[in-house]
């Protein structure tokens, strides 16, 4: 299905199954422990051996030599794969530096060897006995030291700078201006399930049971890195314990397992130790962001400038904090630019809502500061700066933009009119109470996505696609889509995911998964409906599918009649043309937060939070809400506690475990309310849905920071907002 013009009314609009609150179809498997995660797939290959990674103890330099004698002599050791015995692997996809091979060390905890043994304990014990002789090279580990001289990011069409109108002149003549700098720290995905893979060879054919968000990309990447014909690579990843972008791309667990399995002559499984998740894999880069606004006294922005510096190893961008600023608010004169410091730290890469998460933490904080300077309600400041077109390219309208509605609905439901309006002025016992808000903004992305559907002789339907469910609810919304299209009950639908032998989907990332993967299934189901209708000489466009029957022209036939002679298979994909060039497609939220700050100790707790979201058709209000509250929780972590602490002398993240890297615990998360606005966006996808998985995170950090200011009168521009940053500015005790 080529999706070139927005759909009119479709079967999905009936919303008998789609759009209905539906509990997870894979829920029972998960709560009973029967959903197998990568490391637990004991049954997929016999005789699995255990691999344990020997990580580099230095951040930069070279392996001079490795002494394996003692390790090899340990009980149970089968083989040891070392980095020096293979050439540096080519970059797969999304990689900044090679995952394995060669003697060069580019980051701390880089994998230098894989010890393979009969048991996990034997592999781990022997790994500690591998002796590495290092040659150390000094590195650039200090982002703050490098940031002032960081060069502009070089994009494919030159430096990443965008100018509209004359920012400097407008800023100079604006009656109200602000000029503020915000900082966000390095952050880790810290998902529950670490990266893990089991590899097995059959001749030239490699199978990888792994934990991966993007099966089709990753299959190509594995083939490239290991110099294999992609036809000889199979990936299977039916369940993931979270990813948040950390599993968009293949990591060393997969390639080391594959190389070691070849060497050992038997299947090998590898899971990254928790510390390796922090230093061996990827993270969100820290940022330093300067914002300058010029505004009229009525709040209208006349000049907008946002400059963001982030860091990464040479070869790739860091965190694009300016992306949303090019789109979010009206304003005739604009300047945005991105700089990148070349750091010798682990690789920075995509983490949930890359760009917007950090960017909005700064942009929406600065908007709050402007509102205060103007003496304006921060909600109204956003509303007067609404735009219905891409402000840099005004002939490009939004497909649908409900920012104002999100803010109004959210403000009303939250009781924004009863908020504290005097910073530091609302005290309940020892608690200073504050309210803050921010806009959430995240793009909706169109991606090709394919699926196959099989209607079997017993009238049950199977959906096959390499789409992944990273905890998001893909199984459920794909089943709902197929059930709706074929008029079948949900119980009659089986969804199989994550297998690279199945049609290539959009995968899970960038909150593009839901609307594109369901659209792919929709396309396949349209084909299936046509096939069935033809068999009965019915008009497929007039036919209704309901209760296991097809009905048209007063006639009705059972679907099982159609499959009497064998199953019917249909495969199709959704593909897009230029709708995303013609229209800006984005999702919006209004985030509202109430916090309490202990006036003595500075301890800060969120008391309640609310998000009003517009994200097109909500395919399943239960799983969509789960996505949003999970994202809001991540936003609280980003605002208050999460930070990878860098040792700038030795170049590594020091707090590399879940005790030191503090994500929110249950006690940190209060009542969360989510409101979905009614919105259908036929430009965004045939399902008229947009993404929602990242929207819930975008803007939360700023809403918390703005609430902290409102509670205390202290503006903290350096995340996370830990008490040491404002303790001395709290009222004397």
């Amino acid at each position: 299905m080529k999706y070139t013009t927005p759909a009119g009314e479709t079967v999905i609009d009936r919303q008998r199954v789609v759009g209905q609150p539906t509990t997870r179809v894979d829920g029972p498997l998960k709560v009973t422990g029967h959903a197998p995660y990568a490391y637990e797939r004991h049954d997929v290959a016999a005789n699995q051996a255990y691999g344990y990674i020997v990580p580099s103890a230095i951040a930069k330099g070279r392996v001079r030599s490795m002494d394996l004698a003692e390790a090899k002599a340990q009980p149970g050791v089968i083989t040891i794969l070392t980095t020096t015995e293979v050439d540096e692997l080519p970059l797969g996809m999304g990689h900044t530096v090679p995952l394995f091979g060669g003697s060069q060390i580019r980051f701390y905890h880089q994998a230098l060897a894989l010890v393979v043994a009969e048991t996990f304990e034997q592999a781990r014990a022997a790994a500690k006995l591998v002796r590495v002789d290092y040659e150390r090279t000094p590195g650039n580990h200090d982002f703050h030291a490098l940031a002032p001289d960081a060069p502009l990011v070089e994009g494919s069409d030159g430096p990443d700078v965008s100018k509209v109108g004359d920012f400097e002149a407008a800023y100079a003549s604006a009656p109200v201006t602000i000029d503020v700098t915000y900082e966000t720290p390095h952050e880790s995905h810290a998902m529950m399930e670490p990266h893990a893979s089991i590899a097995a060879w059959e001749g030239e054919k490699l199978s990888l049971w792994t934990s991966n968000q993007m099966i089709a990309w990753s299959k190509q990447a594995v083939a490239k890195m290991l110099d294999l014909d992609p036809a000889n690579v199979r990936l299977d990843s039916p369940f993931l314990g979270g990813g948040f972008g950390a599993k968009l791309f293949v990591r060393v667990d997969a390639v080391a397992a594959a190389l070691a399995a070849k060497k050992a002559g038997r299947p090998v499984k590898v899971m990254l130790d928790r510390p390796l998740v922090f230093n061996n894999t990827t993270h969100r880069s820290a940022t330093i962001q300067r914002l300058r606004f010029g505004a009229e006294r009525d709040g209208r922005l006349t000049a907008i400038s946002h400059e963001c510096t982030s860091g990464n190893l040479a070869g790739q961008e860091g965190e694009n904090g300016i992306a949303q600023t090019r789109l979010l608010y009206a304003g005739a004169n604009r300047y945005t630019a991105q700089r990148i410091a070349r750091l010798d730290l682990p690789e920075a890469n995509a983490m949930r809502a890359p760009g917007e998460t950090a960017g909005l933490m700064a942009l929406e904080g600065a908007m709050d500061e402007l509102a205060e300077k103007l003496g304006m309600d921060p909600v109204e400041l956003r509303i007067v700066n609404d735009t219905q077109v891409d402000p840099e390219t005004p002939n490009r309208p939004y497909s649908s933009r409900m920012m104002v509605e999100c803010l109004r609905r959210g403000a009303e439901a939250f009781g924004w009119d009863k908020r504290n309006t005097t910073p530091g002025g609302w005290r309940e016992g020892r608690w200073l109470i504050g309210h803050g808000m921010a806009v959430g903004f995240r793009n909706s992305v169109q991606m090709k996505s394919a699926a196959r559907v099989r209607l079997s002789g017993n009238g049950k339907l199977t959906v096959e696609t390499d789409m992944t469910d990273i905890g998001t609810g893909s199984y459920t919304i794909l089943a709902q889509t197929a059930a709706e299209m074929l008029g079948l009950p949900l119980e009659d639908i089986t969804v199989t995911l994550g297998d690279s032998d199945m049609p290539a989907s959009c995968g899970s990332g960038g909150q593009w998964g839901a609307q594109n993967s369901t659209s792919g299934v929709y396309a396949a189901c349209v084909k299936l409906r046509e096939d069935i209708a033809e068999r009965f000489a019915m008009d497929p466009n007039a036919a209704e599918f309901a209760d296991g029957e097809i009905r048209a022209g007063g006639e009705s036939r059972k679907l099982t009649e159609a499959t009497a002679s064998g199953e019917i298979v249909a495969e199709d994909s959704v593909e897009y043309d230029d709708l995303s060039q013609k229209y800006q497609q984005s999702t919006f939220a209004g985030h509202f937060v109430e916090i309490a700050v202990d006036a003595y100790t500075g301890e800060t707790y969120v008391r309640r939070m609310l998000a009003a979201c517009a994200a097109g058709r909500i395919l399943n209000p239960i799983s969509a809400r789960s996505q949003v509250i999970g994202a809001m929780t991540m936003g609280v972590g980003g605002a208050l506690t999460e930070e990878l602490a860098v040792d700038t002398r030795f170049g590594f993240f020091v707090n590399h475990d879940l005790a030191g890297y503090e994500v929110p615990v249950h006690a940190d998360i209060p009542h969360q309310e989510v409101i979905f606005l009614d919105e259908l966006d036929a430009i965004a996808s045939p399902m008229k849905a947009k993404g929602v998985g990242e929207l819930g995170l975008c803007g939360v950090g700023a809403a918390v920071a703005n609430a902290l200011y409102n509670a205390t009168g202290v503006r903290v521009r350096e995340y996370p907002l830990t008490l040491d940053k404002y303790l001395d500015k709290l009222p004397a005790v």
Partner: protein, 318 residues
Amino acid sequence: MKPFSYERVSSPAEAAAAAARARGAKFIAGGTNLLDLMKLEIETPHHLVDVTGTGLDTITETDEGGLRIGALVSNTALASDERVKRDYAVLSRAIVAGASGQLRNKATTGGNLLQRTRCPYFYDTNQACNKRKPGSGCAAKEGVSRQLGIVGVSDACIATYPGDMAVALRVLDAVVETVKADGTTRAIPLGEFHRLWGDTPHIETVLEPDEMITAVTLPKPLGGTHIYHKVRDRRSYAFALVSVAAVLDAEGKGRVAIGGIAPRPWRVESADAALPDVKAAARALTQEASPTDQNAFKIALVERTLAGVMAKARGEAA
């Protein structure tokens, strides 16, 4: 993890004897700290003496009107004991401010006292650490030190004793009872139990290698208002930046001990004497502070947390 041998014993005397017999032996109770450290090869005992069968899992009343808490009493059992909740509430509150429900079910009174520091460099075996590897240096001092100690620390080590329970025990003047392989017993006041690091940060308490903790005793109840306030970055499942254990009367006089700032629960006589003057007490507690740039905020935090505790003792609305 290094290979080790393992035995279970059924009495404290046997335990001490078993530990004395085997080279590089350690007691294991709940295992919630020791096993983690063994997996990382920070602890590498050759032999484990499992003391969970020694029958020391009861809380009994002493002739002096206090309580004797067996070394194997779990943190959960101790915190929920009616007598403890009534007469030593600061202890209950300190315990439930620590770790998680699951961990507290396994963790024991003896093991809790001996839990090791949470300095991140101690946990990373690639880094210099005098506590883990004597003489290798201290990577934390000029590294990431926000969580670490400000008083009682040394050039060799700036780590803290991280626990909560012991801070309350310190304010209650608890005493640690032990037995050695030769059958001799000792009663060690909690204030003398943990050592300051000095030049030997790897030696953390006054216990000898084969000496087993058998019980912790509490003197008779003090009365007063019992408060434990633990300040941390998230609301649960994190170690203290600063914690205050306090037993105060209605005028705010009494005693306080501070956690999260020193190699042991930090209690200073002159600070107790200064109460209810919070500023003077805080000054007495931190006057010898030698913080790093990253943890200097703990000096102000001690004072402010103490002020909050005082307000609470005086009945200010929570």
